[in-house]
Symmetry: C2
């Protein structure tokens, strides 16, 4: 199972690709960060992010995409841009019919360090050990993207199957809006 | 000048196309609403919205796209979806090099009714009169999308030119992030 983890953002969007499976060793395939200049318009920034993300998806052919769940809290001025940036990996997954998973920051921290309140340095340190990297991934957004992918390998598979079953059941019962 | 106004949302996304110009009569070209079922995944909903919005842009060839500016306030559970939905018209504009404008709800209300705190009924009533429609556009999201387009025709042209000049100046001075 190959997972592309995405830590969404307009200024910096972390991307990390990890191979692994339940009870199998994990391997880092790729890691990086996409930056878009704050002086560009929001549309141009989203498009630049999409072009780069699509390139990653084409090159690494992930089996699933895991995105950090964005909350409406923290710095209000950046949260809208982060939410808009998170639409890009969601579209990429939907267009290809790939499973899309969302994990909260505390789920990712708990999966990787055992502590849902771990700080960025702890996450970077643990992800470096878990993936047996010779140096720590930088910036923190890149390490976070790898942590998301690892979290998804470890807990995502089972969870997506449950979520899919719930979604199918909800559709059968006609829950939610209709076109 | 033809403007596509978009009132972003996942449950209902209002779309309105208006022809007009400074000191020229306004004409409604099209109005509608895109709905995506709440039982679908977020990726599928964004993709369905994108498919429909792209169809509108292809069919009506707007000269500019005006999107309601989303704020991180109000109902936190829907605000993230609204922000993600707003990425779709932003991408559509950027992909075609079309000017993208964002107007706040109070700017739109002030432009259309003269009162930045007008309620939905007042906006719908005024937009029906301004565009000389035989019946009021429904739902409110459709009327809001037309109001956005009208607002942009009336005040958007001049403003986008100023914003563009500011953006160009900022780029020359190296303000903001770098790739």
């Amino acid at each position: 199972m190959r997972v592309l983890g995405v830590d969404p953002g307009l200024t910096r969007c972390g991307l990390g690709v990890v191979d692994g499976g339940m009870g199998r060793p994990l391997r880092m395939v790729a890691v990086g960060v996409v930056r878009t200049p704050a002086s560009d318009g929001i549309g141009e920034r989203l498009l630049a992010l999409q072009v780069e993300l699509e390139r990653w998806v084409e090159e690494y052919s992930p089996d699933a995409i895991a995105v950090e769940r964005v909350f409406a809290r923290g710095d209000v001025s950046t949260i809208m841009g982060t939410a808009q940036a998170s639409a890009i990996p969601m579209l990429a997954a939907a267009r290809r019919g790939l499973p899309l998973a969302m994990h909260t920051p505390s789920e990712v921290k708990a999966a990787v360090t055992g502590n849902g309140r771990a700080d960025k340095a702890q996450v970077t340190s643990m992800i470096t050990r878990i993936l047996k990297l010779t140096e720590a991934p930088r910036p923190a957004d890149a390490a976070d993207a790898l942590a998301l992918a690892v979290c998804h390998v470890w807990r995502g598979g089972a969870r997506s199957r449950i979520e899919e079953a719930v979604a199918v059941a909800a559709r059968r019962q006609g829950v939610g809006g209709r076109r």
